[in-house]
């Protein structure tokens, strides 16, 4: 029972982070039509910024806030300097074909990932370093009994929960959120309604940048920080997004939690070596049985 509960808790806390990573991917996919492979590279970069601040004896919370803000700025920067100019380029019939239209940004995002990883290697040296937690990451003790979860687990779950509530309110309850959904669903009708779809795209990149930066900050304490540590989160986050349905924000969150629990159970009851096998099996099963994902809509299946 003890082991089972502990697997549930660590799975939920892991899943919360994957949900964030998946959310970041889906935001950019829906809002800008790009699968952003640079996403966790951006998060790695902002985690390094936080790590540097903490290294200079600033408080964790200041570093945390600065990392989130720079995540947003980096996201907007990628869109404004690379993605937007690319989408405007009309150079030849071949490059302008629909297939290339969706491929070029993906290749560009891989290029950005490369730049970020080698940039981080140059600035901060490629060796691994630790990253602190704001609260204790040992088993929480309540009334003399050690609980099957840590204070950091609670912090992660709480932070992600708050993020999801804010995101949901933003999309469902504000005019800006409505404008973003409208331009993602039908850009022509959105433009005719006076919505500035270019700004909405940049906003998607910005929010995604903040969400991924948060995922980076929350996952790094358990994995050490190096230019390529977060690649793994991208893979799991991407799987979570596909499982949930690439165009559904709620689906990506559910997918994230489901994968977190799966990984945790495999880890506890089987061996850690089987984690990737299990992920692959789930991915294949979803693609075979329900290719649009749990909550995805049928038409959108371009990847």
């Amino acid at each position: 029972m003890e082991i089972f509960l502990s697997a549930i808790f660590s799975g939920t806390s892991r899943g919360a982070i994957y949900a964030l990573a998946a959310l970041g991917l889906v935001l950019v996919w829906r809002g800008a039509g790009v699968v952003n492979f640079a996403q966790m590279g951006q998060a790695m970069f902002t985690t390094y910024i936080a790590s540097t601040l903490i290294g200079h004896h600033y408080s964790y919370w200041l570093a945390f806030i600065v990392a989130l803000i720079s995540g947003g700025i980096l996201g907007a920067f990628v869109d404004l300097t690379v993605m937007r100019p690319l989408s405007r380029k009309r150079s030849s019939n071949f490059l302008d074909s629909p297939a290339m239209h969706s491929t070029i940004p993906v290749i560009a995002s891989l290029g950005i990932l490369g730049i970020l990883q080698s940039g981080a290697g140059i600035f901060w040296a490629a060796e691994e370093r630790g990253f602190p937690t704001p609260v204790n990451s040992l088993g929480l003790v309540i009334g003399g009994k050690t609980m099957p979860f840590t204070a950091f687990d609670l912090f992660v779950i709480g932070t992600v929960f708050i993020t999801l509530v804010i995101t949901t309110y933003f999309f469902k309850g504000t005019g800006m959120g409505l404008a973003m959904r409208a331009s993602a669903l039908n850009s022509e009708v959105a433009r005719l309604s006076g919505i500035k779809i270019g700004s909405m795209r940049t906003l998607s990149w910005t929010i995604s940048g903040v969400a991924s930066s948060l995922a980076g900050l929350l996952v790094t304490p358990s994995a050490n920080l190096s230019p390529s540590t977060l690649d793994l989160i991208l893979i799991i986050g991407f799987t979570a997004a596909v499982v949930g349905g690439l165009d559904s924000l709620l689906g990506s969150v559910i997918g994230g939690f489901a994968l977190g629990l799966l990984i945790s159970f495999v880890n506890v009851y089987d061996t850690p070596e089987d984690i990737f096998l299990a992920i692959l099996v789930v991915l294949l099963a979803v693609l075979l049985i329900r290719p649009q994902g749990l909550l995805g809509s049928k038409e959108v299946r371009r990847v």
Partner: protein, 237 residues
């Protein structure tokens, strides 16, 4: 007044509009009729900047609007209801309507609320269904929603693309009558594109007949309606 001079719009090497000139007067319904492929939709899409013209000019109240983005053009009071009941089916009826007024939200919140209520008075069926997804509406209701989405921005010029497409005659009658009332009561200028020439000419003040991207007749609506030979030549009935 909407004034179009020698407008040319191309898709690749195909000239969809080949030097179109026309005028739509304030507070009047001007209808553009013509067979499939005559360039009617392209005309509206060029006015609202969804397509860029190769040459020619479009001016609204004396100022040229060529080269502006669709978002800017909406802000000048020109609202376009594109062909095919253009609503966003994954959003609710209420969201589709508020979407049309988002850009005025900050400057005049109270008026936006009033405008939304007016849409429900205009089409009470939309109010009954305001929390439903637009995708669950019937064709007629969708067209009402698409028109409300445009009207809620309080335009002074409404570009309507084939509102009758695929709808039952009774619904068409109701929609056209609503537009007619709006035009007569509020001074709205309407540019109505229709394949259904009889319906369009019966409410319009002025008729323009397009064929293969060129204007072939520009007459008062009643006169065009009476001209049997013109219709036989270009519309086939």
């Amino acid at each position: 007044m909407l004034e179009i001079k020698d407008l040319v719009t191309e898709y690749g090497s195909v000239k969809a509009l080949n030097g179109v000139s026309l005028v739509a007067h304030v507070g009047k319904i001007t209808t553009v009729i013509g067979a499939n492929g005559a360039g009617k939709s392209t005309l509206l899409r060029t006015i609202s900047a969804l397509e860029q013209p190769r040459s020619g000019n479009i001016s609204w109240n004396g100022k040229s609007i060529v080269g502006l983005s669709p978002e800017k053009i909406v802000r000048l009071g020109i609202a376009h209801v594109p062909e095919g009941h253009a609503v966003i089916s994954q959003l609710s009826v209420e969201e589709n309507i508020s979407m049309g007024a988002l850009f005025r939200m900050r400057s005049n919140k109270v008026d936006v609320k009033n405008a939304q209520q007016e849409m429900y008075q205009l089409f009470p069926r939309l109010e009954e269904r305001k929390n439903q997804l637009a995708g669950s509406l019937s064709g007629g209701e969708r067209q009402m929603l698409a028109i409300s989405r445009a009207l809620v921005s309080r335009p002074s010029l409404l570009l309507l693309d084939e509102p009758s497409l695929g709808l039952a005659p009774l619904i068409v009658e109701q929609i056209i009558q609503t537009i007619n009332d709006l035009c007569r009561n509020t001074g709205l200028t309407v540019l109505l594109v229709e394949q259904n020439a009889n319906t369009a000419l019966s409410v319009a003040d002025h008729g323009i007949l397009l064929s293969l991207g060129s204007v072939v007749a520009d007459l008062p609506a009643a006169q065009m309606k009476a001209d049997v030979s013109l219709r036989a030549a270009y519309l086939g009935y």
